[in-house]
């Protein structure tokens, strides 16, 4: 019996011929990530470890200021400074302060810090995003991250793998986000707990890299340990533009052992929406728009959909128009690089002219931190990844998750709107 892609990568990093699901291994890591929140706790843990004065490799740690940035208040500033001081003390090569980075999961691939076949752990659950480029990547808490900081390895239980095969062609105004929402809806929010998701099929072969970011990002929304794509020529070229570091491209064996295989045919798939209050409460847009669902806020951004392709889609829909008068639209380009590219292309001007506010890159609005927090009784449609009670602010607010196109269409009408209908109406 052969090995899945995840098993191949983990075996090599554990120095083993092969590994089996359920096996506990020690794996060497190629990169350890933390943001100012997870780092603050991890640094405290590391300070308390006897004999742990130095990180294992100053070039293999990435520290990104992104959650409460620019600092929301003095307490947030304290955590940001704590991480910055640690980065200076340990001479960390990849420290990204405000204005030089952005959202960690958007930044790291762009900075060439993610390559196929690597093992990456991060103090953030959306670390699984890097599976988009063929890496094994998983989120952990701060104590595990502290251990990885000093040992350069982590203990892992090898996950069984769920194979998902997508076939068909995405229709007009239907995107990777819709496909992933549909997938989370099908699996359920604990449907892939302790499992790896391995994405396959002609639909994803045709998908841009940014769409793969979106899909790998939300593997955790089904509870998965990691979500992974095979690095094809497109992914390898994308990585090589950003790093000269050598890497090993692994492939699942033809006779790999999958716990189960799911086939999803995307022909005829309509835009999808996750309704309150779980990411697996997914419905086709025609279900949701049967009644008028008015919204107070539209949010475009996050590690799920803060990429240049996402902003271009929104700008195309909003170009020359005005957003509805009863709502606000908040746009967060995912990184400084995305922000600059969107500025250069005129995308930001288009969005601002339509009535959107364009914020600095960061995670704040997505997790109810700051820069777009919802109040009692408010409702948002958002390109983010979670809609749990109180996720974006008040426990009495509601969040609907959708694609950038659906969010942009909704921004024009003030209610949740099918972008295809809008297009047909020539709005």
């Amino acid at each position: 019996m052969g090995s899945t892609l995840t098993e191949k990568i983990l075996a090599r990093h554990a120095g083993l011929e092969r590994v089996e699901p359920g096996q506990i291994i020690n794996a060497n890591v190629d990169l350890v990530l933390a943001n100012e929140l997870s780092a603050a706790v991890a640094i405290g843990v590391m300070r308390g470890m006897k004999g742990a004065s130095k990180v294992f490799d100053k070039d293999k740690i990435a520290l990104v200021e992104d959650h409460f940035v620019p600092a929301k208040d003095a307490q947030s500033a304290k955590l940001a400074k704590l991480m910055k001081d640690f980065a200076i003390e340990q001479n960390i090569t990849h420290f990204f302060d405000v204005g030089r980075g952005g959202i960690e999961h958007v930044v790291l691939p762009q900075a060439g810090l993610v390559a196929p076949g690597e093992v990456i752990v991060g103090g953030d659950s959306h670390t699984c995003t890097y599976g988009s480029l063929g890496a094994f990547a998983t989120g952990m808490g701060s104590t595990d991250i502290a251990a990885a900081f000093v040992l350069g390895e982590v203990w892992l239980k090898v996950p069984a793998t769920i194979k998902i095969v997508y076939s068909g062609t995405l229709g007009r105004m239907v995107y990777a986000k819709d496909l992933m929402l549909r997938t989370v809806g099908e699996l359920g929010i604990d449907g892939a707990t302790y499992r790896a998701i391995e994405y396959h099929g002609s639909t994803i072969d045709d998908m841009p890299i940014t769409g793969r970011f979106t899909m790998a990002n939300m593997a955790i929304e089904a509870g998965a340990k990691n979500g992974i794509f095979h690095a094809d020529a497109k992914a390898i070229a994308w990585v090589k533009e950003r790093t000269d570091r050598p890497f090993v491209v692994e492939h699942a064996d033809a006779d790999a052992n999958y716990e189960r295989t799911i086939a999803i045919d995307v022909d005829g798939l309509e835009p999808q929406v996750a309704c309150p209050h779980t990411p697996d409460n997914v419905h086709g847009i025609s279900d949701v728009t049967r009644d008028d669902v008015m919204v107070d806020q539209v949010f475009i951004g996050s590690c799920t959909n803060g990429y240049i392709d996402d902003l271009r889609i929104v700008a195309k829909i909003l170009d020359g128009k005005k957003i509805a008068s009863n709502l606000r639209v908040i746009v967060n380009p995912g990184s400084q690089e995305v922000w600059m590219q969107a500025a250069t292309e005129g995308v930001l001007t288009t969005l601002a002219a339509a009535g959107c506010v364009v914020n600095t890159p960061g995670c704040g609005a997505c997790f109810g931190g700051h820069m777009g927090t919802l109040g009692d009784g408010e409702r948002a449609i958002s390109t983010t990844n979670r809609n749990y009670v109180g996720r974006m602010g008040s426990p009495k607010s509601e969040v609907y998750l959708a694609s950038p196109a659906t969010c942009a269409a909704s921004a024009l009408t003030g209610k949740i709107t099918d972008p295809r209908v809008l297009e047909l109406a020539g709005v």
Partner: protein, 168 residues
């Protein structure tokens, strides 16, 4: 770890996510006692007012799903809650709870056999759960052998310290 834990039960449903365990706006706090004041605030704003030190949270499947924030189990522990019993736990929360020393017990039978307000007693070493109100007893799923060793060694931090000492 204490030999026995004892308290009254506060029972909740499935998919208790980390956003309701400790809402995002408190994630810039690192002091456990301060975090403890907001434990479960997004799910049950009365929790910290009504619970007594030693009380136990009982929940359905997938407890702790969502973000990797270690402040979630830290907040529960910081509130004085002595343990969490659930039908199942989300992966990252499970690791975090063990790493920070919050006792967790996985037992679908116990969850079904325990009601809100019941008085229960727990033995972390054996996984025995006694419902003193109803006079019933359950046994939680054992931790995998590697995790038992990790717990026996005092958690991940002593394990790392030993590894560092061996490397010298």
């Amino acid at each position: 770890m204490e030999a026995k834990l004892h308290g009254n039960v506060h029972k909740y449903g499935k998919n208790v996510d980390t956003d309701v365990i400790i809402p995002g706006k408190y994630c810039n706090i690192i002091d456990p006692a301060e975090l403890g004041k907001h434990a479960l605030e997004g799910l049950d704003p009365e929790y910290t007012a009504k619970m007594k030190a030693g009380d136990i949270i009982v929940a359905d499947t997938n407890f702790g799903c969502g973000s990797s924030r270690e402040v979630a189990p830290i907040a529960i522990k910081g509130s004085g809650t002595s343990a969490v019993i659930a039908k199942s736990f989300a992966r990252i929360f499970y690791r975090n709870a063990l790493n920070i020393g919050l006792p967790i017990f996985e037992s679908p039978e116990a969850v079904d056999g325990i009601e809100n307000g019941d008085e229960i007693e727990l033995e972390p070493a054996t996984g025995v759960i006694r419902n003193l109100t109803k006079g019933t007893q359950y046994k939680a799923a054992e931790f995998p052998p590697f995790m038992q060793q990790l717990v026996a060694a005092g958690g991940l931090v002593p394990y790392v310290e030993r590894r560092l000492a061996e490397a010298k």
